[in-house]
Each structure stands twice: as C-alpha cells, then as structure tokens.
C-alpha cells in the first residue's frame, strides 16, 4: 500500500501523512495489528525529516489509530477503524467556535479573547515544562 505526499501542498506534511494513514485504515488497506514502517524508513522514503514522521505517528498514537509496542515497532491499533473516523482537529475547531460565539454574545472583544487564549495556552505550557 503506497502513500503520496506533496511537498507543495498547502497542508503540512505531517497532516498529509496522518490523513493518508487514516484513509488507508478506513478503506481497509491497513488492517488492525498490521506492522507499519519505522519512522526512519518512512522519513527516508519520503525524503522527510524524522521529526515530521515522528510527529505524525505521535498524533496517530494519541488518536489510538496506531500503537507502539516497544522494540517490536509500530502497529495498526485494534480499534483503528473506529478511531480514525474521529477527527480531533475538527472537534477542537467545533468546540472553540462554540465557546468563542458564547464570549462574543457576552460582549467580549476578539482581542480580549485572543489575549485570554494565549495566556491560558502559555500558562499550560509553563506548567507542563515544570
């Protein structure tokens, strides 16, 4: 099963990778438990940075589409098909849109929302770093 990444496409490379792996799972081209190429193999074949592939794998693992089994490598998650239909990006965008709409209704300006959002994010990042 082949995937194709377009370096001139407006979507980031890791997003293209995630989308295509999820698509392959949904189509049944990748079956649960099937081994996936190593980060290095995929990065070399696609002439990408290892970190880009690692990021895509990390996000796919977070979404339970793939799972890493130590030295044995990375495999398709047993519930990958169900999990790959859940688009966390779309969910986050949806939730944020609802929240922002609520703030606007309450009279909060966009710049206040932006400031508050970045404060919360940076506070979380600082806490995470500790």
């Amino acid at each position: 099963m082949e995937i194709a990444i377009d370096i001139n496409h407006p979507d980031p490379l890791f997003t293209q990778l995630i989308d295509q792996i999820k698509e392959a799972v949904q189509k049944g081209d990748l079956k649960p438990g099937e081994p996936l190429p190593s980060i290095r193999q995929l990065a070399t074949d696609l002439e990408m940075n290892n970190k880009t592939v690692a990021k895509a794998y990390r996000l796919l693992e977070r979404d339970s589409v793939i799972q890493t089994r130590g030295y044995r490598g990375t495999f398709v998650h047993p519930n990958a098909k169900a999990n790959s239909t859940v688009d966390l990006n779309a969910w986050v965008t949806n939730k944020l849109s609802e929240t922002i709409a609520e703030f606007r209704e309450a009279g909060v300006t966009d710049s206040e929302i932006r400031n508050a959002f970045s404060n919360v994010i940076s506070e979380r990042t600082t806490q995470g770093a500790r």
């Binding site: 082949e2 377009d6 792996i21 392959a24 190429p37 995929l42 002439e47 990408m48």
Partner: protein
Amino acid sequence: MVASTDILFYIAFLGQIFLTSYYFPNKILNRMDFVLKSYPPEQYPLLYPRSEAYYKFGRAGFRIATRLIFGLGFVILFAVMFLVDHANFADDGFISEFWPALYGIIQFLPLMALEVTEFKQLKLMRQQNSVSKRKADLRRRGLFDMVSPLIFFAAIACIVGSIVIDYYVHEFPQGFGSDTSERALVLTMTNLLLAGLGAFLLYGKKLNPHQSSDDRNLIISSNLRSLCYCSIALSIFFVTQAVSDVIDMAFLDATLMSIYFILVVYISLGENLKRLPIEDMDFEVYKKAAL
C-alpha cells in the same frame, strides 16, 4: 601426459569463461534490447535521463568488452595448457590459482562498470525529478520480511564455522600474525562490508525516484539473498583455504578458485537475473503521464 587434475581445471576454467563472459553478459544484453524495444524513450521518457544514442553506445561498449574478455579467456587457457612452465611459475609445480583469479577479476570489470553506470543513471534520474509528490510504501521493510531467517542464520553459522574450523585445524594459533587470524580478520571485514551493503539496501535512500514499491521490495529481497549467498560462498572458500594448509590440496587450488568464481557470478548475477524477470517489472511509472 596431461594429469586428471589439470583436465578438471580446464573444465572448470572453460565454465568460468563461458558463464561470466558469454552466458550472463548475453542475458544482460538481451534485457537491454528488450527494454529499449518494449519501452522506448518516446513513451517512457523518465527511464532515459540521457539520449537513446548514449544507451546504444553503452550497450555496444559492454558487448565489445565482454567479447574481448571472452577471447582473452581462451588465450589464457592456451597459455596455461602449452606455454607456461608450471614447475618454475609456482613453487608446488601445479597450475597456479593466479590464472583463474586474475582472469576472474578481469571478467568482473565490465559488470562493475555496468553497476557504476547504473548508479550514475539513477543519480541523474533523481536530479531530473522535479515532481513535488513523493511516494512511500506503508509496509515495514524489516530484514526478515525481505530474506528468510534460515538463509540469514545459515550465513552467520558459516562465518562462525569457517573461523572455528580454521582455528581448529591449525591448533588454535595465538597472536595476530598467523594466516588463520588474517583469514578471520578478512572474513569478518568482508562480511561487515556485505552487512553495510545490506543495511543500505534496507534502510538507505530510494535510489530510483520512480520505481514502484513492489519492484523495489523485490529487488531488495533478491539482493539481500545474493549477499547472504555470497557470504556463505566466501566462508566455504576460506574453509577450503584453511583445510588445504593441512591436507595437501595444492593440485586443486586453481580448480577451486575457478569454481569459486563460477559460484560467485552465479549467486550474485545469475540468481538476480532469474529472480527479477524484466517482464514482471512495472515500467508504467516511467511514463510522463504517471506523474
């Protein structure tokens, strides 16, 4: 009167001449013709980073070189049979392994030149590839996905066996000056080189930017098997060298060297030609429309 061991050498050397400088080069030339006729540059432009005349010139050069070396083989055979004074040429008075070894190296020169040309061709293909799309296979390319564990571990066992037998028949010599330790070192280093080549095939960058994943996997698998067989052949060769120190086999040295070259060309080139039929390769990827 001609000794029976000499006749054995003549037969082995004829086999070496015929296989490496006639039979396999002819197979390669036929493949070149097949590709040029079936997949012409007008329809498959991505396969030809250079002009058609360049490939025809290269083909003619390869043909002339192999035919000349084929003829040289008979000259060497004639010289060994009638001109060389073996009693003065070699200490033991038998036909020296120098002849098949020297000729074997000459025979491999056009094949090596072909490999170098292929690397240059692939480099040009990569340089000319302006496509922004990059393809990759989602199948894992592990060592044992490509080569049978049996063959791999047989190669490892042969290396260990060869070194152990060498030390055993020479009663475990100490220090690094002995032939045994030198052989063990050469065997280890050569196998490390083969392992490096294998690792490059498995984990190295894709040399042909247009090649389909199936073809690439097939070629990697075939080459890895050849590397394992080469390692086994090398170990066997070193064992025969070690044993010939103890059992007087000097009369067989030249014959064994010739057989060794036949074995190497068969398992490296012959097996690859057999396992990778050109008709099964995907040439559609070299069409402009494939981009």
